[in-house]
């Protein structure tokens, strides 16, 4: 897991890749809109967003498959808008791997080496393939056919194929979309340690917030072709710019209403039947329609404590946590996450049972809706 809150130290270093107002239009559709971003050497950066948000377009502009309609893309300080993919020092792990079906594992992996001119010696190629297969923990698989490999193994082959040319940036397009949950988790950990070990810049595209949160140094949240917020996973989780980011990064409950009062760092939102307090988020203004965002784990559920009177609607056991869906007469449904320790204190709650939900004002955040 990522422990540091500070982004990779970039002091005095030039970005390895840069988007400058990069825009991509397909007819009337703007897939990427004025993207400005500097990617630092050695960092693990993720583009996170729902499908159609422009994250894949951004990645493809880096790879050279898309030429920006306006603005520019830079690699290592050079403007590369018109440099074709085969001349760029970046390699990609494709969404469905795009492994060459008519080649063995070794031929797939050595493909990049074999495209170099002058071509490396056969012995050198064999050695590098062996080395790379060991890196992705598939030693001895050289002569296997692609279709003999499982999904997870194919993913490693795709990774090895992209790594063998020692790219300046490794691009990963939803690389784990086809894997089952457990395997995905394993691959995430492996990818992260691989990135640390190799020191290569990784740029990942994903719609899976958990994946982005657990692996990235920085995450770039996108919507409708634009970057909404860039930050470390913790920054995005603790200080989302708006409701969209809070909703995309982790789970949250939102209660909408106008911001009626501001007292220093705390604001009050008028909600149906009551008012709710929370820390003021970025750029919120008095009188504006805002959302009070409360993370499910920040709410305390008790049998007879302080707070809102709610009715337990549903209970989902998640192992280390239990998720309760509760209903409040005025505020509607919302989620509460109770940890094992919390349950030890209060016991469990049965569906249909009344209970009390409470959170501290500092635990809630007042966010702009957009």
């Amino acid at each position: 897991m990522q422990s540091a809150d500070t982004p990779t130290s970039n002091a005095g270093r030039a970005p390895i890749a840069e988007f400058r107002a990069a825009t991509k239009q397909y007819g009337a559709v703007t897939a990427a809109d004025q993207i400005d971003l500097a990617i630092m050497p050695g960092e693990f950066l993720s583009f996170l967003g729902p499908s159609g948000c422009g994250k894949t377009t951004a990645l493809r502009m880096l790879a050279g498959f898309e030429v920006p309609s306006s603005g520019s893309v830079h690699l290592d300080g050079q403007q590369v808008n018109l440099v074709p993919p085969h001349k760029r020092p970046v390699n990609m792990v494709f969404q469905h791997y795009a492994l060459f079906p008519h080649m063995t594992v070794a031929d797939n992996i050595s493909y990049g080496l074999r495209q170099q001119r002058p071509k490396p010696a056969a012995a050198e190629i064999t050695r590098r393939v062996e080395e790379t297969l060991t890196t992705v923990r598939l030693p001895g698989f050289e002569q296997r056919r692609i279709w003999e490999m499982s999904g997870g193994q194919q993913q490693r082959v795709a990774l090895a194929r992209a790594l063998i040319n020692q790219p300046k940036i490794l691009l990963l397009d939803e690389p784990m979309a086809a894997l089952d949950r457990k395997l995905r988790r394993e691959m995430q950990i492996e990818l992260q340690s691989l990135q640390r070990a190799l020191g290569i810049t990784f740029v990942l595209v994903t719609h899976d917030q958990e994946e982005a949160l657990s692996m990235s140094d920085r995450i770039c949240i996108m919507r409708a072709g634009r970057i909404v917020q860039i930050g470390t996973p913790r920054q995005l989780y603790d200080a989302p710019l708006n409701r969209y980011v809070a909703d995309f990064v982790g789970k949250s409950n939102f209660f909408a209403g106008p911001l009626s009062q501001i007292d220093g760092p705390i604001g009050t939102v008028s909600l149906p039947g009551q008012s709710g307090q929370g820390r003021l988020g970025q750029g919120v203004q008095k009188g504006a329609n805002v959302s009070l965002s409360v993370r499910p784990e920040q709410i305390t559920l008790t049998h007879s404590g302080p707070g809102l009177e709610v009715l337990i609607k549903n209970r989902i056991f998640l192992g280390e946590h239990t998720e309760y869906l509760v209903n409040h007469g005025d505020l509607g449904d919302f989620l509460i996450l109770v940890s094992r320790q919390g349950e030890a204190l209060e016991g469990t709650f049965e569906p249909g049972e009344p209970a009390r939900a409470h959170w501290k004002p500092e635990a809630a955040l007042i966010l702009n809706n957009d």
């Binding site: 390699n91 469905h96 060459f100 079906p101 493909y111 495209q115 170099q116 194929r161 992209a162 040319n165």
Partner: protein
């Protein structure tokens, strides 16, 4: 009824068809080929190798067939591949269906009528007349191997285009992106990815065209004018004109054997080349 009996009953129509349409005629032809010609033509039972010993008399027909069929197949392939490539990869998908139909349209007319058109195109008042206009006099096209090849290319093109088109169309375009991403310029991606993955289509197309060409008689008859004739023409001649059934049968048996041998060699080559390539079906 036992499942075994049901199976047999279900296979009976196909079996009967094979027996009457394939096995019996071949047996008849083989039997005839050892017989003698009756005075008025036809067949008299006998057992002689005379007909087979006489085969060199038709050597020219075999020579023409065995050169023009492979050469024709190769030319058809060389023209069909770029066309199929364009249709499957380069053409605007909006127009693709229309373009494909255009490839098939000639099939809607009898090959006989289309060959007549070629007689005119290649004949004295066709292309040679145009060439004459530009000062190139005395060029003869009709009744030459060139005319036969032109007819072959024209007639057999769709048979080659379609299998290749299908294999190119199925090709995952992301493989080409992956190839480019790994440093391969487009022309090398073509040689390393597109071409190998479309070879099953090429193999199928070549097989179809070659086998049909080996038995071709209409195109050489019309565009070769008796000067460029195939084994097929020799057969028509022997059976219908000189009514020498035994000798015709011997020629037919020889053609079947030549075809079997060349197809076997071809299949072997494909198998060897495709060894371990079970990822793509070859035929």
């Amino acid at each position: 009824m036992s499942p075994k009996l049901i199976n047999r009953l279900l296979l009976a129509p196909a079996g009967l068809w094979l027996l009457t349409m394939l096995v019996l005629p071949i047996v008849v032809v083989v039997v005839f080929s050892f017989g003698e010609r009756a005075q008025a033509g036809g067949y008299v039972p006998a057992f002689t190798l005379e007909q087979y010993l006489n085969l060199p008399a038709r050597w020219k027909a075999f020579q023409n067939t065995l050169t023009l069929a492979p050469v024709g197949t190769l030319i058809v392939l060389l023209i069909a591949y770029p066309l199929a490539y364009y249709l499957a990869i380069k053409a605007n998908p909006k127009w693709r269906t229309l373009l494909l139909i255009l490839v098939i349209v000639p099939f809607w007319t009898s090959i006989l009528i289309r060959s007549y058109a070629w007689i005119f195109i290649l004949g004295g008042r066709g292309i040679p007349a145009i060439l004459e206009f530009f000062g190139l006099e005395g060029i003869r096209l009709i009744n030459t191997p060139f005319a036969v090849l032109a007819g072959i290319v024209y007639g057999y093109l769709p048979l080659m285009v379609f299998p290749i088109y299908v294999s190119l169309e199925r090709l995952d375009k992301r493989l080409l992106e992956a190839s480019a991403d790994l440093g391969s310029p487009p022309w090398r991606s073509f040689l390393q990815i597109t071409l190998p993955l479309s070879l099953p289509g090429v193999a199928t197309g070549c097989m179809l065209v070659f086998i049909l060409l080996m038995g071709e008689f209409l195109i050489p008859a019309m565009l070769g004018g008796g000067k460029v004739f195939f084994v097929g023409n020799a057969l028509v001649d022997l059976f219908l004109q000189s009514r020498n059934w035994p000798f015709g049968s011997a020629v037919a048996v020889a053609l079947v054997l030549v075809m079997l041998v060349s197809v076997t060699i071809y299949m072997r080559a494909i198998k060897r080349w495709g060894n371990g390539r079970d990822d793509v079906s070859l035929m």
